[in-house]
Symmetry: C2
Subunit: 165 residues, 2 copies
Amino acid sequence: MGAVVTGAALAREQSRITVRDLPDKPGVVHGLFRELAEAHVVVDMIVQNVATEGLADVSFTVDDDDLPSALEIATRAARSQGAGEVIHASDLAKVSVVGSGMKTHTGVADRMFAALADARINIQMITTSEIKISVLVDQQFAAEAMKAVHAVFDLHVVPADLRFS
Amino acid sequence: MGAVVTGAALAREQSRITVRDLPDKPGVVHGLFRELAEAHVVVDMIVQNVATEGLADVSFTVDDDDLPSALEIATRAARSQGAGEVIHASDLAKVSVVGSGMKTHTGVADRMFAALADARINIQMITTSEIKISVLVDQQFAAEAMKAVHAVFDLHVVPADLRFS
Ligand SMILES: C[C@@H](O)[C@H](N)C(=O)O
Ligand SMILES: C[C@@H](O)[C@H](N)C(=O)O
């Protein structure tokens, strides 16, 4: 497979905040993120899957350092939007693979999933764009996950913290 | 905000398949996507949020035309992975905004959410990368959603189906 995937990236020290049971109605997710934006909290991954019985969970990641203020804001905003509980976790790592060839090749995501499966690393969250696949894993598996994705895509080892957009 | 967001894109005629209650253990999502990859099904968005009580939902999108075969494969693979129900929907549209400036500006996602909120358009799924935010909406709101994001980010109208990576 000629360089379909051209690089990998790792972001350590990530925290994840999940707001459960947000009402699946227009404007609700804006009600949550408006307050984070006004407080200039830098949010990285945002994930929402489809609602179940009219309620949806929304998760987002921030740097570990920003967790206390992000959590306070998210808890307040969740209450104002009539959401359920707000849960969080820290010491997570985002592992990504990038490559413009993904658009025209099937199975790239599965090769990444297979590499992590073989390494017995659990995938906590997944987001994708046409040229990038990101997963959230426990930070203790970050180096192993990077090694696994470098191997499956024949990538030369890049400095772990080099970010690809 | 000098051109933080430089463009928007629309992909119509999307279908969404959701596999509910996948066991949150290493290798399970590979078990689902391996079969789709082997059948050369072109998958676009993949979204997984964190598990609840050890079970996670995974959704992915395909072109409407590919739904029958993708659904058959996903239903078989879900059963082999011990998942719960498989649900789906068609006639959806993916609306995205792109811009390398997002990495250094807070609040871009919320401006998109605010634009859709003001247009009373419900967001069904969200996925992000550092330079792109994508949401899944009902296709009947596709044109309105594109108009709303063009307005809020001062974008000149681009041909709706022009894809940005
Ligand atoms: C759940 C949340 O995304 C809701 N559907 C909204 O549009 O705001
Ligand atoms: C749910 C699924 O993603 C599982 N955590 C896995 O790693 O395969």
